[in-house]
Amino acid sequence: MNHDRRTPNIGEELPRMDAYTKVCGAEPFAVDGYPENLLWAGVKRAGVPHARLLGVAVDRALALAGVRAVLTAAAISGTNRQGVIRRDQPVLVDDRVRHCGDPVALVVAEDQETLAAAIELITLDLEPLPPIFEPRAALAEDAVLLHPEHPGGNQLFGARLVNGAGLEGFAECAVTVEATFHLPRQAHAFLETENGWAIADAAGQIDMTVSTQTPFRDRFEVAEALGLEQNRIRIRAPYCGGAFGGKDGITVQSLLALAALHCPERPVKMWWRREESFIAGVKRHPAHLHYRLGADRGGTLVALAVDGWFDTGPYDHLGGVVAALALEHAGGPYRIPHTDLQTRAVYTNNPVSGAFRGFGVPQVATAMESMMDLLARRLDCCPLELRRKNALVRGDRCPAGVTRRGSMGLTACLDRLAEHPWWSERAAWQAAAGPHCRRGTGVAAVFHGMGYGPIVPDVATAGIELLEDGRLQVQVGVVDMGQGNAATCLQMVGDLLNQPQSQMTLLLPDTARTFPCGSSSASRTTFTYGNALLPAARQMRERLLAKGAEMLFVQDPQEMLLVPGAVRHLASGRDLPLAQLAKQLGREERFVTNHYRAPVAREKSTDDANLRLHGFPHLIFSHAVHLARIEVDELTGTIRVVDYLSISDCGRLINPRTFAGQQEGAVGQGLGYALMEDLGVCDGRITTPDLATYILPTAVDLPPMETIAVTLPEHDGPFGLKGAGEIGIDAPAAAVANAVHDACGLRLLRFPLTAEQLLSELSAMTGGNDER
């Protein structure tokens, strides 16, 4: 086959290597593991939002035939606490229930039917505590503290940045607009729900395969929580069936390890059903955001005040970091000299909020970009021109007070959008709407920081091995959750070493076989790992050429060239197959490795050490401008997105098709966030427990999409790339809201933009047509 011989080039639209196995159903996901002699593990969950746990009655469950173990917190000898920044989440509840999904007892059984029956037989002795469901109520003086030992009380995280004259800057504004936005709780709804399986040998060594974005950090957390040495735990991380941040951190890992330890030499599997995934997994933070934005008469932004509240649920997960990233992005990609920005993540007894693609930015971008349109209307100017006028360029300070360096493609994106017929011909398109239909066009401009910020090391260690059979094994130390970074690594190595896919194999993350690397998250996966990998590949190339030269008695390795499957001596035309070369080399000689640590911002833009610990500020940013064309049905209030355009500055592209797929997918998820996704919670209980009630966009709900990249090189990036995984989800909600405003003259502040809300506002606005 052609693909067997062809070597990849950077910038080519190549099929992903993993597509072949996935399209045949042959790629083993974690959930596909059904080893012989399997046991099933499951969890008894609290079912109440806030209570003191007085006792757990497990006898009836234990007595059931086929039950192998029923474990409570008493079985845990470690800290029984998990978390990334603040370790505050119990593996199994020991003293206090803080949300309905809290796990209280772990059951292991021979089959799923017995498991379900046993869980039903467990009863809990609970003393109710007053629950807290609203962030503002959580900060009331007399509010019950969810974590009495936390110095910040119920405020998990809070930070404020004041730049320029702060609020006094509003005195200089000729025009001011103000609004409060409500953003919903979004579920990741990856199709492969949280799962894994584990086996402990007689000596207590645990081998676990799990659907996770963070195998190395998981190992550390599991070890600490259960009181084990890290080297007793091996975690393998195959491709995830979607993750989007929802598998950034512990899901089933500690429970599985505990179950395996108590049932040695039997594999134990845990697989959360969809309903359990909703109850127990994390969600995007619901947020209330108050914005005030001022400008001079000519449309130059002058002052911005933001007060943002993020409901983080009962545990940190990554809630503080989310609120910090929201703070950094609250002012959008604009020059605003006077700012007063504040965000908080607050503990409540609602389901746990945590990492989700975008990581706090979709919330603030939705608000800020709505504000920009409000301001444009107030100034009676073109919303695109307002953005062009104020767009950050290199050397500017952003609204959070940090100097921009690195590639800045926002203006290029805005210019491309201005030329696009969907923008330039929008008035004619709007006028052509049919009966009962209103049309509108909306834009949104966003930016997204990449990596972990200045304190947490953003590192990766890559490895490439020439196998004895002459193939190159490329380590992918960072999980591929679907975005395609594994195949992208192969494309980079294949180009540098001039080897086709058939000459290369992948080694997926495995704490026993690959080097520790950061997470698959924060738009840093391919940037950081690629930067580790490229020097390794170059080193391998030099090694192969030098060793090949030696074996062919050639003086100068410069006379050698790598060709598919061989090194070639150009002068003589002789080939030395890599398989032959490999046999002459020891393992150390066949292996290269390289470590990389991403650069960080050196500017001291805040004295708040806690804020810096939570990732502020970032150094490298991607940019994007999106456009949505929508139709509103006046009879039903339904919004239909007709066309969608994204123009992105994410540096150079390794594989444009992979890039486009990622943007389209992010837009799809973002349109779900804009239009329909809203995990309902009432008194701490989920009111949309399944995929019949928590709805995602189907193919019919999403528009045709056009994806454009302005491919300006980022000098710090491998082959000039920068982060692309998240930015696509930041803009859609604002673009749609702005299009609705354009269509109906209505500014909606509560998301998602349901037909119900829109029709009610439309009726109120038009006096109900026939209403009265």
């Binding site: 492969e192 009962h436 679907g482 193919a699």
Partner: protein, 473 residues
């Protein structure tokens, strides 16, 4: 039960509980883990396989239902090393990201191309609307199917049971559920059915099972014996009976949709069925099942109401015929008696030239539970005034709702925005919606009335301007 079937062209005789879900049978018992499970309730399509060449949700199918059938899973699609053209197109056009929806998506596409070798993008989009993808935004999946254009072999025909029996691989299940707590029987004829029902009072009947198997999973059905009607041939099919159409209760929605008579003579029903559930649900769900479930949101109910369909009930000893209003008593409640089944729906053919309209509002454009719906059947006089009109609303009352007062008020009036608008306040008063997780009662009331305003724009091009947009403030 001993289950003869063919899986990926291999003959099996499986020892398996009758209520074993096919997705578990494939993944756990046979190691065919290419078939994925994403929800267990028929909402995501990841578990789609082919049964006798047609797509089917394996999470809502139990072992008893595949007896004698030919199953194709994703593992059985490629011809040795050569990918099926749909698989190859998915690889070539970037349709695979995380890959978890991919097997189900590919199977659905293969099913589509069997009937429509050259679908347009709209047809493709609707065909995959029961398969959720969380990674791609669908665009590249649609591209791939659009370009697949294979010379697809015809659908695998249903093997005879005898053929399946020929040289089976007898495979005792390694990990099949140990306790088979529930019996599932699928009689082939009514003659087999009646003694079964007589011997087992309390048996739960189903026909397709797209609702029942969701309830089973949620623990909302405790019956020990389930009796499926889907294999009874005399309950299937669409026939003409003079000036009536007779639809067998076990006819699937997909069969209704494909039937040219329904499309020509009962567009209101055709339009409703086209929006019911997803293509995958329509392959399995039946019109009889939709009736007996008696959900206020049942999509076939408003069209059947305006068509003034009657329900044929049959038991071992007697037949009776009820109007739809007599049959439907409330949410989930019908006049069906113990030992009785719905055999067919009889529909009088509306006069030629009647105007048919069905519109449904859901929280999304496909695979949606209706928030409000309206079926309309009208005849206009030559001058454009309404001669007859029947209207039935879904999801705005305990069951499908006809409003004779509104119909009476409109008869003799021109079909235009002014006259329709005049009756809207009355509609809002007369509907009796509830608030639930999908929408509030106020919205349902508003929309129930507004849907009427679509009728002039649908049927009278002259009235398009009159129904145009109000001025902006």
């Amino acid at each position: 039960m001993k289950l003869p079937c063919i899986i990926n062209e291999e003959h099996y005789r499986l020892e398996v509980p009758a209520d074993r879900r096919v997705v578990d049978l494939l993944r756990e018992d046979l190691g065919l883990t290419g078939t994925k499970e994403g929800c267990g309730t028929g909402e995501c399509g990841a578990c789609t396989v082919l049964v006798d060449g047609r797509s089917r949700l394996s999470c809502l199918t139990v072992a008893a239902q595949i007896e004698g059938r030919r199953i194709t899973t994703i593992e059985g699609l490629a011809d040795g090393e050569t990918l099926h053209p749909v698989q190859q197109a998915f690889v070539d056009h970037g349709a695979v990201q995380c890959g978890f929806c991919t097997p189900g998506m590919v199977m659905t596409a293969v099913d589509l191309l069997t009937d429509h070798p050259e679908p347009d993008r709209t047809e493709i989009t609707h065909a995959i609307s029961g398969n959720l993808c969380r990674c791609t935004g669908y665009q590249k999946i649609i591209d791939a199917i659009d370009r697949a254009r294979p010379s697809i072999p015809g659908p695998a025909t249903r093997p005879t049971l005898a053929a399946a029996d020929k040289s089976p691989v007898v495979r005792p299940m390694v990990r099949a559920a140990t306790r088979s707590s529930r019996q599932i029987v699928l009689p082939d004829s009514c003659d087999q059915l009646w003694p079964l029902l007589a011997a087992s009072p309390g048996a739960r009947l189903f026909c397709g099972g797209t609702d029942l198997f969701v309830w089973l999973r949620a623990g909302r059905c405790q019956a020990r014996l389930l009796v499926g009607l889907e294999r009874i041939d005399e309950l299937r099919g669409i026939g003409s009976d003079g000036d009536h159409l007779r639809i067998g209760a076990a006819t699937t929605h997909a069969e209704l949709l494909a039937d040219p008579t329904i499309k020509e003579h009962l567009p209101v029903l055709h339009q409703a069925v086209a929006q019911l559930g997803s293509p995958l649900i329509r392959r399995t769900g039946t019109i009889g099942g939709n009736l007996v479930t008696a959900s206020p949101a049942g999509d076939t109910l408003p069209p059947l109401a305006v068509l003034e369909a009657t329900v044929e009930l049959r038991s071992a000893t007697a037949n009776r015929r009820l109007s739809l209003e007599e049959f439907l008593l409330g949410p989930g409640r019908t006049d069906l008696r113990e030992g009785e089944i719905v055999a067919a729906i009889r529909i009088p053919l509306p006069p030629p030239g009647s105007l048919h309209s069905f519109e449904k509002v859901g929280r999304r454009a496909a695979l949606a539970c209706s928030i409000a719906s309206l079926a309309g059947l009208l005849d206009l006089d030559d001058d454009g005034t309404i001669r007859t009109i029947r209207l039935a609303w879904g999801s705005v009352a305990e069951t499908v709702l006809r409003l004779p007062q509104i119909e009476a008020a409109l008869i003799g009036q021109p079909l235009d925005d002014t006259h329709i608008t005049a009756v809207l306040p009355a509609v809002r008063k007369l509907v009796r919606p509830i608030s639930d997780v999908r929408a509030g009662a106020d919205y349902r009331r508003l929309v129930a009335a507004n849907l009427l305003r679509r009728l002039p724009t649908r049927f009278c091009s002259d009235h398009r301007l009159a129904a145009g947009r109000p001025q902006r403030p």
